[in-house]
Amino acid sequence: MATVRLSTLKKVFGTNAPAVDVDELKIENGEFLTLLGPSGCGKSTLLRMLAGLETPTSGRIMFDERIVNELDPAERNIAMVFQNYALYPHMTVAENVGYPLKKRGVPKDERTARIAEIAALLKIDMLLDRKPRQLSGGQQQRVALGRAMIRNPAVYLFDEPLSNLDAALRSYMRNELIRLHAKLRGTMVFVTHDQVEAMTMSTRIAVMEAGCIQQLATPDEIYERPATKFVAGFVGTPAMNFIEAEVVPDGATARIKAGDFTLDVTQPDGMTAPLQGPLTLGIRPEHILLGQGTDKAEITVVESLGNEQIITIDTGRRELVLRSTSGEKHRIGEHVTYALRPDRLHFFAADTGRRIGPN
């Protein structure tokens, strides 16, 4: 198990803008770090550079205090789980799981013992003589995990390993991975575009966009205090509502004018300058309250999920999405009042999209 440190790491393909451009990233020993972002944000390229499958254009990758830039994948003592599992189709499950040990010259007896141990842990012991094509997706996934786990790697790398599974199995495997991480205490780097995976499993999440890390923080912090408008919009389902607004400071309050409504909020503490000027207001669906306040709207879409309703309202100027858990069943066409919880507003600079507020 190792600490991973990246500094001024850059990967440029041809003459394009850098695919990865990371100033500093330290992954703690035993941490489960998720690289989260939309496709093309550079998260997989970053992972592949950690693996040694891609060469950085510049910058350094260090495992503990050792620079590994020049090392082959085999010499880095990493284990990787691929999206398609990448099992060796002509080998049995046992041979697949044992392959990394075989390549390291571990004697056969010891190998067999280790394979049995890992197989029992992952509940694939009855599959050891099968070929990968005779396994279900979930079973293949376990075999791929087993192959990764068998040799106590310095770092585990996961490249969207759950995205080929169906919803039920995916949720089950998330659960399993959380357990495994708790048990193995290994340093794990997990790449995904699925925010649920990121939120549920990670110690910390690095949200990436256009090659850069937008925010590196715990899941709660990412959700509650997104550093940029991009992060705010990417994490959370349904997505955060954004409202362009104009703020006029008035002593200890800030008057927010958004066209269809005006809202007075207390100026947040610890700010160098008061809130003012044009900015983007962000509010999560669960922080818009139906049946409160005086602002009026009409319900245009209702998505019922049983325990809650995702409701789209039309305020006359814009549509807002909110989440209602009150149990009251709303219907399309209903006229309602709504209010935004003033203590749950997020403010982002209109130009840069950066969060405004005390950090």
Partner: protein, 280 residues
């Protein structure tokens, strides 16, 4: 009701076509087999008797014990096996390189390679003969193997390259992460996966080399070094008359190895053209 009748007759028509095809292809072979089993005098009769009046293996024993057939057969096998091995060794490594390593001109190189395959052998036979001659390899089986490789290799390279392209690169990356060297993963991971393609390519190469006539005819002078396609001709011409039962026996025996190889590799042949394994 009507449409069912139409469908049934369409089906009958298709089945009929298939049988016609089978008949056209199989009939000459069957006739060759039956003729080879006829006594010497019965081969050319009128009216035509396809079924022999009496069966005899006399033509086979003549062929095997009184002619150079066995020697020629061995020559052919040596040349075909030699060509196949050489083509496979160079072809798999070359095709893998063309598939997995990015370098300037890789695509152009691959296209040019295929182009050389399209050159008719009548055009290349003279230059190749001169080259082989200068190497001191004319009238040797080694010279034949080298010259067959010149036209079997391009196609093999192309076919293997297409096959390697269907292999998911992640599996090789996984092997690298797991500790395999480039060469190690080529033998342990790539080749086993490419087996159907390799078998299909070997068969193709084997048959090209085994059947080749022109180069063998021009390059080989010594009777003892002739290959079967040329040799059968010369077995026949030494007799006063053409003994058709012996010619047919030779044809049957010559077809046998190819037939055996194809039948035993059918499973791979079918999957050799167009399957990979990315699906998880």
């Amino acid at each position: 009701m009507m449409s069912m009748v139409v469908r049934q007759s369409a089906r009958a028509f298709r089945v009929g076509l298939v049988w016609l095809g089978i008949f056209l292809i199989a009939m000459p072979m069957l006739w060759a087999l039956l003729t080879s089993l006829k006594p010497k005098g019965d081969t050319l009769t009128f009216p035509v008797a396809i079924w022999p009046e009496s069966f005899t293996f006399e033509s086979y024993s003549t062929l095997l014990f009184d002619t150079m057939f066995v020697q020629l057969f061995l020559n052919s096998v040596v040349v075909a096996v030699g060509t196949t091995l050489l083509v496979l060794i160079v072809g798999t490594l070359g095709a893998y390189g063309l598939t997995r390593f990015k370098f300037r001109g890789a695509e152009l190189g691959a296209a040019t390679i295929l182009f050389t395959y399209f050159l008719p052998s009548t055009i290349i036979v003279v230059p190749i003969y001169l080259t082989i001659n200068q190497l001191g390899l004319s009238d040797t089986l080694t010279g034949l193997v080298l010259s067959y490789t010149t036209f079997a290799l391009p196609f093999a390279l192309w076919m293997l390259r297409l096959f390697f392209q269907t292999l998911p690169v992640e599996i090789e990356q996984a092997a690298r992460v797991d500790g395999a060297s480039r060469l190690g993963l080529f033998f342990e991971i790539v080749l086993p996966q490419a087996l159907p393609g390799i078998i299909a390519t070997s068969l193709f190469t084997f048959i090209i080399a085994y059947n080749e006539y022109l180069f063998s005819f021009i390059f080989i002078n010594s009777d003892a070094k002739k290959t079967l396609p040329v040799g059968i001709n010369f077995i026949v011409k030494t007799s006063y008359e053409i003994e058709w039962n012996i010619v047919m026996a030779a044809s049957v025996l010559m077809t046998l190895p190819v037939l055996i190889v194809i039948v035993s590799c059918q499973r791979y042949l079918l999957s050799g053209f167009g399957v990979g394994n990315t699906k998880g």
